[in-house]
């Protein structure tokens, strides 16, 4: 009883209490820190998708990645870090999918080109053999 009374009247103890509350609040904020690393990773993934030809070979996925990245930047600006992380993570997978689609489309084209070359060469040979 005496202790609580002295705590209420003691300004030092009050300050300590306020400081403790402040620390707790900061700890609360720390549970959703700014996803700075994820943002960087996602930006890099989106630019890879663009340079791989995502616009041409995977327009839907590339557009989705770009839009989510922009939304993530907006969420970062308004300090909505949980939303920013989610959007950035989705932008990253969308961008990676776009990149992989562009690569596989190019590889398919190259394979078809070589197969066509071989076919023409064979025909030419057969014609000469006759």
């Amino acid at each position: 009883m005496n202790g609580t009374k002295s705590l209420k009247s003691n300004p030092v103890a009050q300050r300590i209490g306020l400081a403790a509350i402040g620390v707790l609040l900061m700890a609360g904020c720390a549970s959703a820190p700014a996803p700075t690393d994820q943002m960087a990773v996602s930006r890099a993934a989106v630019s890879s998708a663009m340079s791989a030809g995502g616009n041409q070979f995977a327009p839907v996925q590339t557009r989705s990645a770009l839009e989510k990245m922009e939304a993530a930047e907006r969420a970062m600006a308004s300090k909505d870090y949980e939303e920013a992380r989610r959007l950035a993570e989705q932008a990253e997978v969308d961008a990676k999918l776009a990149t992989e689609m562009a690569h596989s489309a190019k590889a398919k084209r190259a394979a078809e080109a070589v197969q066509e070359d071989t076919r023409i060469l064979r025909e030419e040979l057969e014609r000469r053999a006759k």
Partner: protein
């Protein structure tokens, strides 16, 4: 009386809780992710050519399932399920890219083989042409030699006849 008033309410609450515990939690995005993951798992190309990507998708799917079972927010479950679904698509694309790259290797080797065959055929053709030319030249030379021999023989015959004639003339004069 007071207890009786609360009894139906608690029964309803109990029923709601029971419903929650027996009916498995549902999430359409997660169902979709599960379906595409099992489709990828039965595709030998994906299993063999994109094992790392497929495992990553499986991990995300596991996290989404765990979030659903822990009763986390729908947004969280949707988010994790979306990641899983896109990672399955990445694994499938990776498998397709690797299949195409293998096709390029195979087709390049075939093209080189055909090119080599073409060159070999060309070399053989020019060798045969040279051989034909050589044979023709030899035949011509043989014909030329025979002609020369024949002419020589004719000249010899003429000379012999002339000598015989001369001998006969000398005999007549003698």
């Amino acid at each position: 009386m007071q207890m009786n008033r609360y009894l139906p309410l608690s029964l309803i609450a109990a029923a709601v809780l029971a419903a929650c515990s027996t009916v498995p939690a549902q999430n359409p995005t997660l169902d979709e992710a599960r379906a595409s993951y099992s489709r990828a798992q039965t595709n030998p190309d994906v299993v063999n050519l994109a094992p790392v990507e497929l495992r990553r998708a499986g991990d995300s799917l596991g996290r989404a399932d765990a979030a659903l079972n822990k009763g986390e927010s729908e947004a969280t479950v949707n988010h994790l399920a979306y990641l899983a679904k896109q990672q399955v698509a990445i694994a499938e694309e990776t498998a397709q890219r690797k299949t195409a790259e293998r096709a390029i290797t195979t087709a390049s080797a075939q093209r080189d083989e055909v090119r080599l065959a073409a060159r070999t055929a060309e070399v053989e053709a020019s060798r045969q042409h040279a051989e034909t030319t050589r044979q023709a030249a030899e035949q011509q030379a043989a014909r030329d030699r025979a002609q020369i021999e024949a002419e020589k023989a004719r000249a010899e015959e003429t000379r012999r006849l002339a000598e015989e004639q001369a001998a006969r003339d000398r005999a007549l004069l003698a």
